[in-house]
């Protein structure tokens, strides 16, 4: 058989064609409800993390850099501005708190059983969401802790 003959054979071959696919609808709803929350959580932490890293690098490790000064100046500018100063609690408390909540919801499941009057809490093993949750919590604690603590 020549290659051309095989091409003709392949081109004229009857092919199996799935017609009625009942399973198509089974997948549709869970697929369209699927969301990723850990990434959203990470984006929410970008600004507080940037400030936190600046503080650690500059004041804890003593690194002197114009970039660090610039970032610090940026946040100081926002803080000293009469209107923008209201953004500070949003950035350092609101965003990590929101990130904590969405990640907590992504790996936990709450169900109230009416008959037994029980609240069932299920924690799913989702390492990424758990990591972002803990990171958000750590950032929140850092910014909420009073400076006077030893």
């Amino acid at each position: 058989m020549k290659n051309e003959d095989l091409e003709t054979l392949l081109g004229g071959m009857n092919l199996p064609k799935p017609e009625q696919l009942a399973h198509q609808q089974e997948l549709k709803i869970p697929l369209l409800r699927y969301k990723r929350s850990s990434r959203a959580g990470l984006w929410l932490l970008a600004l507080p993390l940037m400030f936190l890293m600046t503080v650690i690098l500059k004041y804890e490790l003593g690194i002197v850099s114009s970039v660090l000064n610039f970032i610090e100046g940026l946040f100081t500018g926002v803080d000293e501005n009469k209107f923008l100063t209201y953004l500070i609690p949003v950035i350092f408390v609101g965003l990590p708190l929101f990130s904590m909540v969405i990640n907590l919801l992504s790996f936990s499941h709450f169900a109230f059983v009416h008959g037994n009057k029980e609240l069932l809490i299920t924690i799913k093993y989702r390492p990424l969401n758990l990591a972002v949750f803990l990171l958000s919590f750590a950032i929140l604690v850092f910014f909420l802790l009073p400076d006077t603590l030893p």
Binding site: M1, K2, N3, D5, L6, E7, L9, L10, G11, M13, N14, L15, P16, K17, P18, Q20, L21, A22, H23, Q24, E26, L27, K28, P30, L31, L32, R33, Y34, R36, K124
Partner: protein, 227 residues
């Protein structure tokens, strides 16, 4: 374009050479009659609109995967994984006058490469969705009936099954182009878009693939079909 061919397989080639002229477009309104450009914009605002893409193209993708794997369960998993990846990645999709179907074909092809290369294929995104919603979409009331129907469909196409078994012995790069050309009836240009290769490379792979497939045919086939 980098965003068109999803983040799972970043391009290695200069795109200017891949699309030689600005009017190099492959739009197939005949696919579904969907206004895909508008639909993609709408999906980016309201992800639930993805259902239209799903309804329009699921059968194409499932059919493609089923014809290549000839395994109902694997085809179902791979098709589901394909749409899940498309759904989560569509926010970055940019319309370039190329039907979204080609993007879906590409994701499905990559998933099948994973399937053929691993002893135990795990559709990762699908596993997550099943875990998250405590549902097993691979187990539903009509599954057994549908599986039997699909197996019967294969039995009615013995010549296809025989050729496909031989095709599976070839390298994946040949399997891809032959399947897209002859099972999915795609042109060289369309295959080039799906596989993100030059048209010349596709032509060469197809020619070599057919030659290799011919060599795998049993002797009696050579004799029977000899003019």
């Amino acid at each position: 374009m980098a965003l068109f061919f999803d983040r799972y397989h970043p391009p290695q080639r200069n795109l200017a050479t891949f699309f030689p002229s600005p009017d190099y477009t492959v739009t197939k309104k005949a696919h579904t009659g969907l206004n895909e450009e508008r639909l993609i914009k709408e999906i980016q605002q309201d992800p639930r609109k993805f259902a239209e893409i799903y309804e329009a193209f699921y059968k194409n993708i499932f059919g493609y995967v089923f014809r290549r794997t000839t395994d109902y369960d694997a085809a179902k998993d791979i098709a589901a994984e394909t749409f899940l990846k498309a759904y989560t990645g569509i926010g970055k999709f940019q319309w370039r006058n190329i039907s979204i179907l080609y993007w879906l074909y590409r994701i499905a092809t990559n998933e099948m490469n994973r399937y053929f290369n691993s002893r135990k294929y795990v559709p990762e995104s699908l596993s997550r969705i099943q875990e998250e919603y405590d549902v097993d979409i691979t187990d539903y009331s009509n599954a057994e009936t549908e599986r039997i129907q699909m197996e019967e469909e294969l039995e009615r196409h013995q010549e296809f099954v025989k050729i496909n078994d031989l095709l599976k012995t070839l390298d994946l790069k040949y399997q891809e182009v032959i399947a897209l050309r002859f099972y999915e009836q795609k042109s060289l240009k369309e295959i080039a878009i799906i596989l993100f290769k030059n048209e010349g490379t596709v032509k060469s792979l197809l020619s070599r693939g057919i030659e290799k497939l011919r060599r795998t045919l049993p002797e009696e086939d050579h004799e029977e079909r000899r003019p």
